[in-house]
Amino acid sequence: MTVPLLEVKDLHVGLPIGGGQTYPILKGVSFQIMPGEAFGLVGESGSGKSVTSLAAMGLLKKPLRTTAGQILFHGRDLLKLSRREMRKLRGDRIAMIFQEPMTALNPLATVGRQIAEMFYLHQGKSWAEGEKLAVEALANVRVPNPDRRAKNYPHQMSGGLRQRVMIAMALACDPDLLIADEPTTALDVTVQAEVLRLIKELCTERGTAVLFISHDLGVIASTCQRVGVMYSGVLVEENWTEALFTDPRHEYTRGLLGALPRLGSRSTQGRHRLVDIDSIIPDRSILTQTRFISPRGEGASA
């Protein structure tokens, strides 16, 4: 039995609304990620998928706060770490890629310098060594002409290249866990396909576990081994990817899959209407009352 790399246990996040009361944002989310595994969290806006990942990185913005639960990383509870300990971990053992690389990168520094900073801060390298390693890191994410590109500023690069720079930064210190929050949403489809393939290949190569956050069921299906479906702050269903897509157990998952225009479905079903979740489930509040979490021991598809 392997020990999970990340274990989120009954995580509650709330928004204080005065009078000592809190409005619940996450209502007891639990899941595990094994070393080297790609785990996906899928859900619509406001489902709590990004809040979950921010909580795991210790990046929750005030006034949001964790009200209960544990986030165990290598067995250590991240919620009990000091800010300084957390900062040491972030970027080194846990790294993150965000949706909009333009806002996540510093516009005033060359990308080489920004990647070099990772080696300087976390591995005690000199800036000169760091910049050399940065060129290597750019080559690893398949950026053409890495030595020239290292001298570029973010605005001189396309969206796809910037996202590669983000990946190079995130993987610079060989983290154990990569959190990718909608990493390709802002990209064109063919660029998205390339970036997804790159993340998948690099993480498989290095044995990096990935927590993938996306609203796109297709992106999750093509990258993750196991998937959790979130709705209104609750993880309503979790299963191996194939099982989840072929045999969705929860009403919400079934609705979500039916609402998706699927490539090729017009050839088999003809012109058809998409499922309208609101018309099949008029009272959405019942959706969070049931959960289907399949045990990890069964039906594993390696």
Partner: protein, 319 residues
């Protein structure tokens, strides 16, 4: 077959870009749309797909009269709507209207929904109880209540705002509606509702759609015909079945392959692109698959759109 409602004939749009030299010396020309031709039949949904910068939105703006073509003509019911002798904006407003990607940015935040819908009617001389009735009927058609008409845009969710955007586009009863990425900003469940609504309205009012999209699964679901654009040109066009089940151009195949599709990812459905590789007709070769970014400042390589089947054209180069 009835006459097409919209005909676009050899549309070219080029933008002069001033150079970096003194007084803009070293001027260059950006090729945005090069030789695009197509026709739209009544009641049809024609989609233009492609990635950022391929010219799909510029083509849409030209149809709307918001971008003057450099060359070429656009005819609505046989009459030119560009160049000299073009009808006034007031007249074209009844021919074509547009639904935008971000309805919040396209609605006036200081006007109630009713006021937003009354404005175009007033400009066209419809006021009083007739206007009120039409607005109420339109709100019902898009699934909103009369009470919601008295609210402001910020009081609505994204999906409801898109319903308002659609109501605003349809209030003058246009024949053509240009849909610019109408659902790409919406969540999966809301997206399904808006797609269903667009299809219901199309049937109810006999609308003709020109849809601009990068999302091929939505395009396959909604379109009758599809144009695939790459770097200012059409590289493949045809009925939805031809494009999705028998794609020929390497770029179309690349686009289809790139869609993250759950069924294909799990190996449950085979994409058409996994079948035998297409071979160009003798004497021809396919142009690039789009993996190399083209130079937008020089005209595209000389090539032709060649018929390879009924209602199926592919861009080919002389071998």
């Amino acid at each position: 077959m009835s006459a097409p409602i919209l005909e676009v004939d050899d549309l070219h749009v080029r933008f002069p870009i001033s150079g970096r030299g003194i007084l803009g010396a070293g001027k260059r020309t950006l090729y945005a749309v090069t030789g695009v031709s197509f026709s739209l039949a009544k009641g049809e949904c024609l989609s233009i797909v492609g990635e950022s910068g391929c010219g799909k939105s510029t083509t849409a703006l030209s149809i709307m009269g918001l971008q003057e073509p450099t060359e070429g003509t656009i005819r609505f019911r046989g009459k030119p709507i560009t160049g000299p002798g073009a009808p006034s904006r007031m007249a074209r407003a009844k021919a074509a209207q547009m639904v935008f990607q971000d309805p919040y940015a396209s609605l006036n935040p200081r006007q109630t929904v009713n006021a937003s819908l009354a404005q175009p009617l007033k400009l066209h001389g419809i006021a009083g109880s007739e206007a009120t009735d039409r607005i109420a009927a339109m709100l019902r058609s898009v699934g909103l209540t009369a009470e919601q008409g008295r609210r402001y845009p910020h009081e609505f969710s994204g999906g409801q705002r898109q319903r308002i955007g659609i109501a605003r586009a349809l209030i003058l009863e246009p024949e053509i509606v240009v849909l610019d990425e109408p659902v790409s900003a919406l969540d999966v469940s809301i997206r399904a509702q808006i797609i269903n609504l667009l299809q219901d309205l199309q049937e109810q009012f006999g609308l003709s759609y020109v849809m601009i999209s990068h999302d091929l699964s939505v395009v396959e679901h909604m379109s009758d015909r599809v144009l695939v654009m790459f770097f200012s040109q059409i590289v493949e066009q045809g009925g939805w079945g031809e494009i999705f089940e028998n794609p020929q151009h390497p770029y179309t195949r690349r686009l289809i392959d790139a869609i993250p599709d759950p069924d294909a990812a799990l190996g449950r459905a085979r994409k058409a692109t996994e079948k035998v590789h297409p071979v160009p007709p003798p004497g021809w070769r396919f142009s690039s698959d789009g993996s190399v970014a083209p130079d937008v400042f020089s005209p595209p390589e000389a090539s032709e759109l060649v018929d390879i089947g009924p209602d199926h054209k592919v861009r080919l180069l002389r071998a």
